[in-house]
Amino acid sequence: MEIDLIFKIASVGIIVAVLNTLLKNSNRDEQAMMVTIAGLIIVLMVIAKEISSLFSAVRNLFNL
């Protein structure tokens, strides 16, 4: 569960970077921006799930 989560996020980042340069060279800058935003949303959803599991673990361990 742990290490492949990091790989997933990093791979999304790299794919977005490659697509950005690709789209920018074929002067479609707005699609490049849309790809960046889509990648960001995916990353944020994964991070939100992981952070919520971390915080709930902290909450019921330290009974905050």
């Binding site: 290490i3 999304v12 977005v16 960046t36 994964v46 992981e50 971390l54 673990a57 361990l61 330290f62």
Partner: protein, 128 residues
Amino acid sequence: MNIFQIVVIGIVGVLLVLTVKEKNPEFALGTSLITGAVILVAVITRFDGIFDFLNRYMTVDGFNSDYIKILMKILGIAYVTQFGAEICKDAGAASVASKIELAGKVIILSYGIPIILSLLDTVRGILG
């Protein structure tokens, strides 16, 4: 989850952060945040043993056990505050990090008030 795995996860995470950083920094922040979260989740299971020990053996007379609960709350708050503040510092937003740390200190102080009161009572008892 022994220390070697944690160190490997940290190093691999930082490597990936660096590869992604110069092209688009927001994914670098995401990767470093996930790496921190993964390591913390892995470490947090170790706290159970520590707290069982604390609860069982720290019931010395004259030291009631709800101070242990307050200490655990304070530890948890410090844990989360430090996690959030470091992430903001990584991203370069030192001002936001200092605000988070200030909030953490205020909350911890508000939890610590009963302990301080009982300390004052014992001191007054000794002196009075």
